[in-house]
Every structure is written in structure tokens, then in C-alpha cells.
């Protein structure tokens, strides 16, 4: 049916203008902080220290980025972040999809009980402290695998995959089974290729979770600098800066100590540059993955 134009009343026009302004305003508030740190990092350090940039960089300098590349530990923490994201995502997606597939098999003994056992983990957990004690007793403190193993099996993702596999046509799998293919072969050759959309969706979420996480680094692997992730490196710099701000606020008495700290602390530019580099992967990946992100919330909602 042709869209019947409703008479555009003046109040409607005012609303439209107001609505556009409001929406663009909200969008600007969402973008501006990122824009600010980008222009800050490209500014001349001496110019922005006292007078921060507003819309465009003050002067132009790549000194911050040069500093970062010479910064101790930057590349190593980047490497650790990339490793945990790649290994963690690949393993988790493989395990969850394989398990999701196995749980569609009615010939599995005790299937219902095992599945409930898994689903229960969405509702109850031991809490932060007992999980810490347990992980410590497994000897996983200061161990790279503490990033991977606790997040390996996600009940929620398994539910999504199981539901997806259940609505795939059965005939392909059955004919393969009749030809003597085992579960693993069927999974690799048939189920994985057919489940690409849901697997991509889950992979994106798992990867973002790994890239963004810092708290496990903080409680489990603080003791080993070699395991520091990029997010945690940033956290440490920020913490330093915050402590300094705290001390300036609290004690103007011990000025000497503070200026000591001032000189030992990383310059603001370094912090900002790490922030830019740590958010860069999300910005790069996001436009291509947006449909998966949106799909992610929809499957979740439909499955519910």
C-alpha cells in the first residue's frame, strides 16, 4: 500500500527537528570521548599538558606512538592479549559447539541429567572467593591457562548451539552415519559447516569478552608480569595516575614525595595511547561484525 502522507503539522515538524538534534547529541556523546583521546595522542605533548585539545589535535606529533613502541612490556602484553583471545575463542567455540551437538543425540545415556547439570551453572556459582581458592589449589595462579579454562564451557552458548543444531535437517547426518561416519566426523564435516551463522555470532561475543577482560588478570596472574594483558597494563597505569591524584588531594604537606612520584609516573600521553590501541580492535572489527552482534541479542531473546 502506498504510504499515505499524514498532514505534516507544525508540531510534527518541531518534533522531528528536536528528535534529530537529540539523537545526534546522544551519538556525539558516545563518539566524542574516543575522538578526544585520538586527537590527544596525536597532539604535541608540551601543548596539551596545560591546554587539552577540543576538536583537533594541537600541533601534530607521533611522539606518543613512538614512546609506546619503546615502552617496556607493551608488545608482550599485546601478544598475551592476542593469544588469549585467539586460543580462548577457538577452543571455547569448538568445545561448546561439539558439546551442543552431542547433547542433541538422544542415544546419549543420562542425557537429561547431564544437560541439567550443565544448565544449573547459569544459576549458581561458588562466588569470587571460593573460585579463587579452588583455582589456587589447582595450581593455576600465574598460569596462562587460567585465562582459558574457566571460560571454556559456557552453558548459555551451548544452549544456543543445541537449539540451532536441532532445527538442522536430519537427513544429511543420518546418511553420513549410515556410511559409517562417527560423531566426530559428522560434527566436523556436517554440523560445523551448517552452523556457521550461530558459531560466528558466539565467536564474536567470546572474543570480545576475552579481549576486554582484565579482572582475572588482576586476581589470578598479578604475580607474573609475563602474563600481563593489554587491558591490565592500562589498568595499572590508570591506577598509578589515580593514586597520584588521590595523594595530591589528600596531602599537600609532603610535596617532595609527590613530585618524586610525578616524575616516575608514566606521562598522560602513554596512557591515552594505550587506550587508543586497546580499543582499536573493537573499532576495526565492529563494523563487519555488527550484524552478528545484533543477531546475538536476538537469538538470546528468542531462545530466552
Amino acid at each position: 500500500m502506498k504510504k499515505e502522507k499524514i498532514k505534516t503539522s507544525p508540531s510534527r515538524k518541531i518534533f522531528q527537528v528536536f528528535n534529530y538534534l537529540l539523537m545526534l547529541g546522544i551519538t556525539l556523546i558516545c563518539i566524542y570521548p574516543f575522538w578526544y583521546i585520538v586527537i590527544y595522542t596525536f597532539s604535541e605533548g608540551s601543548l596539551v599538558d596545560v591546554n587539552p585539545p577540543v576538536l583537533l589535535p594541537r600541533g601534530f606529533s607521533l611522539a606518543n606512538y613512538k614512546d609506546i613502541f619503546e615502552l617496556n612490556g607493551f608488545f608482550h602484553s599485546l601478544f598475551i592479549s592476542v593469544m588469549r583471545t585467539v586460543i580462548g575463542t577457538v577452543l571455547s567455540v569448538l568445545c561448546c559447539s561439539f558439546l551442543g551437538y552431542l547433547f542433541t543425540k538422544e542415544e546419549m545415556p543420562c542425557r537429561k541429567i547431564l544437560y541439567r547439570f550443565l544448565i544449573m551453572t547459569m544459576y549458581i556459582n561458588g562466588g569470587m572467593i571460593s573460585t579463587y581458592i579452588v583455582i589456587k589449589s589447582y595450581g593455576l595462579l600465574n598460569n596462562f591457562w587460567v585465562y582459558i579454562l574457566p571460560m571454556l564451557i559456557s552453558a548459555y552458548n551451548i544452549v544456543l548451539i543445541k537449539t540451532y543444531v536441532e532445527q538442522l535437517p536430519q537427513s544429511l547426518e543420518e546418511s553420513a552415519r549410515l556410511d559409517g561416519a562417527g560423531y566426530l566426523t559428522v560434527f566436523v564435516k556436517i554440523i560445523l559447516p551448517l552452523s556457521k551463522p550461530i558459531i560466528a555470532t558466539i565467536a564474536v561475543f567470546v572474543a570480545v569478552g576475552h579481549w576486554n577482560s582484565w579482572f582475572d588478570n588482576h586476581i589470578y596472574t598479578r604475580g607474573d608480569e609475563n602474563l600481563m594483558t593489554l587491558q591490565y597494563l592500562l589498568y595499572n597505569y590508570l591506577n598509578e595516575a589515580q593514586r597520584l591524584a588521590d595523594q595530591i588531594k589528600n596531602a599537600s604537606a609532603n610535596m617532595a614525595g609527590i613530585s618524586d612520584m610525578m616524575s616516575s609516573i608514566s606521562p598522560k600521553g602513554v596512557r591515552m595511547t594505550i587506550t587508543v590501541l586497546a580499543s582499536l580492535p573493537i573499532f576495526l572489527v565492529y563494523p563487519f561484525m555488527q550484524k552478528y552482534f545484533v543477531k546475538g541479542i536476538m537469538v538470546g531473546a528468542v531462545k530466552g
Partner: protein, 304 residues
């Protein structure tokens, strides 16, 4: 034919499947269930390094302590304040979705949606860094306020005890508003266009269409999400609050989860930390189950 075969095979259990599932279930057991057994620490005076059964048995002493601990009361109050604010603000994403839906220019709409959703995938560490860049004493916005004569001296909102509640709420909304709106946008997209046509025939303008057609279509989603929010009352999380906590904001920003972290992992008082988190878990499971039951009544199926 294939189907008949499948039905015939159904009762025959395949124990190889059990073998294949076993390693994954072991991981679930080790990382999700063993920590629950760790709750036993709460009835002992556990000292790290000493075998548990050589520690003093305290019975419910730690649980009694909870009810007399002023810090529990204070952090519980903070948790409740954040939770109530969150619940009051649940209509925001819905409103945002309705307003965004009124943007008829496809490119503008896509642009707004992309950039308002993006912050959801940015880690809290990075958000803290962005906030630090803009709002710290020498941050851009703080300086701008001074330069424009709005405030006399550079006072950072990050170290203001009074601003904690609204500022943290603002940040949380900044991160999640666009993302939370997606589900409502989908609900709007699912509305039968004929309903609008019918309303227009009846003489309804844009505004009345929004009130009488768009809004009711989203109400069910809204009610379900609202109830779930109530169910998650105590689960405010800790990442955001931990990052923005400093000596000034601490009294107002410390939520229950964060207090558990401080008791257990900073003061190393494992047993008391576990005791608090047990009480918290029990109450929040009860709340979630209750919320789920109510949502089930409304929607006809479970939500989680």
C-alpha cells in the same frame, strides 16, 4: 526411511557418547561445582596455607557477624541505590528505540545506531581511561568548565563523593543504552504495518500511533526485562565500581560484590568473604527464581 531407522535406534543407548562428553563435564565440575563445595570455608576460621580441617571450626559465627557489620549495611545500601536507579531507568532504552524509529533517514539512523551500540563492547578499563581523560582535575571537560567560568576551581567529578550515584549511572547508561534498545527496535520492526494503517484511518497522528500501536507492542518485552532487573537486584557487578573507586568515592561506590572482594582477596579473610557471598547467592537465587516465575506467568514461558 532414514527417519524410521532413527526411531528404531532411539532406545539403544550409546555409551561412547558418555565417554566423549566426560572430559567437558569434568571441566564443568572442576570450575563450576567444586567452588560451591568451597562454601564450607565459611564455617571455619580458614588461614591460607593451613589444611582446612586443622583450622578452628566456627559454626555460624561469620554469618552472625554479617548482621552486625556496619560495612555490610553500607555496601548493601549502595547496591540498593544503584539497583533502584537502574530499575527506574528501565524505560530509557524503550524510549530511545521509539525516538530512533522516528528517524526516517536510513543513513542517519544506521549511523546513530552503530555509534550508540559501540560503547557496549568497550571494556570498563577503557571507559575508565576515557573518563579520566575528560573528567580528571586536568581533564578536558574539567578545564573547560573552569575556562568558561562555570566553576571557580578545577574540581574533578571522579573524586566527588556526592556525584557518585548519578555519575556512575550516567556512565552505565552511556555504555548500554544503544545496545539495550536493539531488542525494542526488533519489537517495533515486528509490528504489523496494517495496525498503523488502521490507526491512521481512525485519524491518529504520529504521536497517537506511537502511544497506541508502538508502545503496547513493546510492553511485554519491557515487563519481562523489568522483572529480570528486579531479580538481579543484588548482582550489580563490580568492574565499574572497582575502577572508579578511590579514597574519596569509596564510601558511596562500594557495592556488596566489591566488599566481598575487599574482605576476601585484599584482606585475605577468605572465610568471612565466602560467608557474605553465600548469603548474597542465596538471596539473589531466590530473587531470580521468583522473577522468573512471574515472567513465566506473563509470557507463558521462562525467560532465562
Amino acid at each position: 526411511m532414514a527417519k524410521a531407522l532413527a526411531v528404531k535406534h532411539k532406545p539403544k543407548k550409546n555409551y561412547r557418547l558418555l565417554l566423549m562428553v566426560f572430559p567437558f563435564m569434568l571441566i564443568v565440575l572442576l570450575f563450576n561445582y567444586v567452588p560451591i563445595f568451597g562454601w564450607i570455608y565459611s564455617v571455619y576460621d580458614y588461614i591460607p596455607g593451613v589444611p582446612l580441617f586443622e583450622c578452628d571450626f566456627l559454626g555460624l559465627d561469620y554469618f552472625k557477624l554479617i548482621f552486625t557489620d556496619a560495612n555490610v549495611l553500607r555496601t548493601l545500601k549502595n547496591t540498593a541505590i544503584f539497583a533502584v536507579i537502574n530499575i527506574v531507568l528501565t524505560p530509557l532504552p524503550m524510549l530511545f528505540a521509539i525516538m530512533l524509529n522516528e528517524i526516517k533517514n536510513g543513513a542517519a539512523r544506521k549511523f546513530i545506531q552503530t555509534f550508540t551500540t559501540l560503547p557496549n563492547f568497550i571494556s570498563w578499563v577503557i571507559i575508565f581511561s576515557l573518563a579520566f581523560g575528560l573528567f580528571s582535575t586536568d581533564g578536558m571537560l574539567t578545564q573547560a568548565m573552569v575556562n568558561l567560568g562555570i566553576t571557580d576551581e578545577a574540581k574533578s567529578v571522579l573524586s566527588s563523593k556526592e556525584s557518585v550515584y548519578w555519575f556512575q549511572t550516567f556512565l552505565a547508561q552511556w555504555k548500554t543504552l544503544g545496545w539495550n534498545a536493539i531488542i525494542y527496535l526488533a519489537a517495533i520492526a515486528g509490528i504489523d504495518q496494517e495496525q498503523y494503517e488502521a490507526a491512521k484511518v481512525d485519524g491518529a497522528g504520529y504521536f497517537r500511533c506511537a502511544i497506541h500501536v508502538t508502545l503496547p507492542a513493546m510492553l511485554e518485552t519491557y515487563v519481562v526485562l523489568f522483572i529480570l532487573n528486579v531479580g538481579n537486584f543484588l548482582n550489580t557487578g563490580y568492574e565499574q565500581y572497582m575502577l572508579f573507586k578511590n579514597s574519596v568515592t569509596a564510601p558511596n561506590i562500594e557495592v556488596l560484590d566489591l566488599y566481598v572482594y575487599r574482605i576476601g582477596l585484599e584482606n585475605m579473610d577468605y572465610s568471612y568473604g565466602v560467608a557474605i557471598s553465600i548469603i548474597k547467592s542465596v538471596v539473589s537465587i531466590a530473587l531470580v527464581v521468583f522473577a522468573n516465575l512471574v515472567a513465566k506467568k506473563i509470557r507463558g514461558n521462562t525467560v532465562i
